[in-house]
Symmetry: C2
Subunit: 120 residues, 2 copies
DNA sequence: CTGTATCCTAGCGGATACTG
DNA sequence: CAGTATCCGCTAGGATACAG
């Protein structure tokens, strides 16, 4: 239980890198999707990501990439004709956990939807 | 790879319970903390939570509890003199994954902080 | 191709005061 | 004890246009 819950929880704890911070970062709307796309171990260009993810504007894609890069999950390699993004080792080590969460969500989606419906 | 990434990602996918949705819900500021506190398998009262978590206002605590209850992770039991909250089986099944994320965050906090600092 | 600049909306997060 | 009512600031998310 230790990494999650100090004896008394103070607000200043959130200054560093707790589970909460990671979840907030990865919990941003498009983070998981971009992480998932980069998971095939080859670099992806900006426009490739822009075209692959429908409904995501360039502005948001830029910010999402910047945030995840700042967290050390992606790296950014500008080349003469394109910019390539790929997972870092850190990002790669995080992915199994996110995938596990995705599978949990998949398994329990019916239960969650039922819970939500019964609260109307 | 399947639960995370449909061949072409459309916006309407987010209507249901994907990993993204779960992460957004659990990624809200106090969700992990409250989940962690309820992890000891005994019910907790509203004011107990309010006192345990420093810096969390009653309004936000109320909303956090309502959201997680709507997701089916908590249950709410009003008694004559207090209201008790406890984890549902669904919530209990999610916790190991969140704890794993917490441990990952703990292990990699130095790397993440270093990545963030180098971007000043 | 890979962004940045502007402008806008909705909702999270919070302070404070009030209620059954 | 367990909330609700109000009011507010900040920022995630987005549309659109422009730039190097």
């Amino acid at each position: 239980m230790s990494p999650l819950l100090p004896p008394v929880v103070t607000e200043t704890d959130r200054a560093s890198c707790t589970a909460t911070d990671i979840l907030r970062s990865v919990g941003e709307k498009w983070s998981v999707l971009v992480l998932a796309i980069l998971n095939d171990d080859r670099p992806h260009g900006f426009n490739e990501l822009d075209r692959t993810i429908e409904g995501l504007s360039r502005r948001i894609l830029t910010r999402t990439l910047r945030n995840l890069e700042a967290d050390g999950l992606f790296s950014r390699h500008p080349t003469p004709d394109r910019v390539e993004y790929s997972l870092t080792d850190l990002g790669r080590s995080l992915l199994p956990l996110v995938i596990a969460l995705g599978e949990w969500a998949d398994r329990n989606a019916p239960a969650i939807e039922a819970a939500r419906r019964s609260r109307l």
